[in-house]
């Protein structure tokens, strides 16, 4: 059992890893897309420079905006970061694992989305309202699929605590006897991750065209440090989802003990895994076109059915 100081240091270490790795992931995806389109593309470290620039700029706030508008970036950033602290990254036992399980994780992320939707409506611009309405549609459709896919995994591990799930799977204890529920849940969670982080088949993060944007339309009114926080939080959300996919389904290599060598290996393996997933997402973005908004329900319907089947397979095959 780690001591209090040690826990505190681990929490800080995890926060630093998540915060520093998230702009890199965004940059990596952009680079992969650029290479596929035969462009040189900006450096993978460009998002860091963008964030630094935005933090120096003075924010402009609409005179009709209420307190929700300036408060939202902080709420979004804090809730996403605390959700990230609940997900094991390089160490299977997160020090904050007593504080919340997967249900807390899902609703911490939903809290940020909720405030972002409110902020989109707050300034009264037409685009903001449209983006909010679309985001509400997507968020309400992804939530059941996400909860069910995570429950399917929680059942096979016998706990809703993410640390316990990852720890048990990494040590090959209580790992599923049948891979089919796992595969269904993985496919569902991956679709959910694409939808929740505003990636191509659902939303296009590189666009400012009113027909296609969802996330961008909501944050159109933000500028300066508020925009920086929102962009960073979007990157963090991506990092949280990639960690979830990488560590819940393939946690091998993660540090299961507190020795420095195990943690070093865990960190390297973690970085390789999420970088690989980011490259995969970049590839998918180049291969597929964005879906029409009313086709998004079909895609998320697939995710929901797969997650439901994953859950049912568990009961049927185990009984």
């Amino acid at each position: 059992m780690p001591s209090l100081i040690q826990s505190l240091l681990l929490v800080i270490a995890q926060a630093i890893v998540l915060l520093s790795v998230s702009p890199f992931l965004v940059g990596l995806i952009r680079k992969v897309k650029a290479r596929f389109q035969c462009r040189q593309g900006a450096s993978v470290f460009q998002p860091y420079a963008d964030l630094a620039k935005l933090f120096r700029k003075q924010p402009v706030i609409s005179s009709t905006a209420s307190w929700i508008f300036p408060a939202t970036p902080y709420i979004l950033f804090a809730s996403t970061l605390s959700a990230g602290l609940l997900v094991p990254t390089f160490l299977s036992q997160t020090p904050l694992n007593f504080a919340g399980n997967i249900i807390a994780l899902v609703y911490l992320l939903a809290l940020g989305t909720f405030f972002l939707i409110l902020a989109g409506l707050d300034t009264g611009s037409a685009f903001g309202g449209m983006g909010s309405s679309r985001e509400a549609l997507v968020a309400s459709l992804t939530e059941p699929a996400m909860i069910l896919s995570i429950f399917a995994i929680a059942l096979t591990a016998g706990s809703t605590n993410l640390s316990t799930i990852v720890h048990k799977t990494a040590l090959l204890e209580g790992i599923v006897t049948d891979p089919s529920p796992h595969l269904m849940a993985l496919a569902a969670l991956f679709i959910v991750a694409l939808a929740e982080t505003g990636r191509v088949p659902v939303d296009n993060p590189a666009t400012h065209l009113e027909l296609t944007m969802i996330h961008e339309a909501m944050v159109l009114e933000y500028s300066g440090r508020y925009l920086a926080l929102i962009e960073w939080a979007a990157g963090l959300k991506l990092a949280v989802f990639l960690s979830l996919v990488a560590n819940v389904f393939a946690p091998w290599g993660i540090a299961t003990t507190l020795t420095p060598s195990a943690m070093g290996i865990g960190l390297v393996v973690y970085l390789v895994k999420i970088a690989g997933l980011a490259v995969l997402i970049g590839t998918i973005e180049c291969m597929f076109a964005k879906l029409r908004l009313f086709r998004v329900t079909d895609l998320l319907g697939v995710a929901f059915i797969l997650a439901l089947l994953g859950l049912l397979f568990f009961y049927i095959l185990r009984s």
Binding site: D178, P179, S180, L183, M184, D298, G301, I305, L309, L317
Partner: protein, 221 residues
């Protein structure tokens, strides 16, 4: 090299689950050419499953069946279908009797049905592949459903081929493959059926300017 039966059984299960996953992709897909690609992918997973079973059990005749699946279902039939689609000049499946989300829900229910039907049988089996039996039945049912739910002849043909994939997986799962001569006969039948259906689709296009099979219920002189 030896793989423990437990791990082997899990690998076979994983491959059959991949087959089921592509079934859902086919049901959710609207574009015809993407459906054909997904069918080719599903057949590739079937080849993998069959080769894995052949490797784990040492029944070498399954290798031949797997190779035939590879040639016929991954290469020849998708090519024929692509040609047909090109000639018909239809890119999209616009006529569906059941919309996509409802279709997916029905397919989910069919998978559950398949699992409940095979549940009494599964514990009696002692084969490595016994858990795949339920998935094979589910794939047959989904293929059947695709044939009912779609109105265009090409996607009905894909439904038929998916059903056949399910049957092959079922045969591999239940008995480690049928005798080779039966497999050869089945493959020949499927190939001829796909070719005839391709020609028939072209005739349908010539006669009605559409490949909607519901026109066939109306009598014409």
């Amino acid at each position: 090299m030896q793989i423990s039966p437990h791990i082997g059984s899990q690998l076979v299960d994983l491959c059959s689950a991949l087959l089921l996953l592509t079934c859902f992709a086919i049901v959710a897909q609207r574009r015809l050419s993407a459906c054909v690609d997904l069918f080719a992918l599903q057949s590739a997973f079937l080849v993998l499953t069959a080769a894995l079973v052949a490797f784990l059990t040492g029944n070498h005749h399954i290798y031949i069946a797997a190779a035939l699946t590879g040639v016929i279902k991954v290469v020849i039939i998708p090519r024929v279908l692509k040609k047909v689609i090109e000639r018909l000049n239809v890119k999209r499946e616009l006529v569906m009797n059941v919309n996509v989300p409802a279709g997916l829900l029905i397919c989910g229910a069919l998978v559950m049905l398949a699992f409940f039907i095979t549940q009494p049988i599964i514990p009696l089996g002692f084969l490595l592949t016994r858990d795949s039996l339920a998935i094979a039945l589910a794939i047959v049912l989904i293929g059947f459903f695709t044939m009912i739910a779609r109105q265009k002849a090409v996607s009905q043909l894909i439904g038929f081929l998916v059903m056949e994939n399910g049957l092959f997986l079922g045969a591999t799962a239940a008995t480690y493959g049928m005798p080779l001569i039966v497999e050869l006969g089945v493959f020949f039948d499927v190939l001829i059926a796909a070719l005839i259906a391709g020609i028939y689709t072209n005739r349908l296009q010539d006669a009605f300017d559409s490949v909607d099979t519901s026109h066939l219920t109306v009598l014409k002189e």
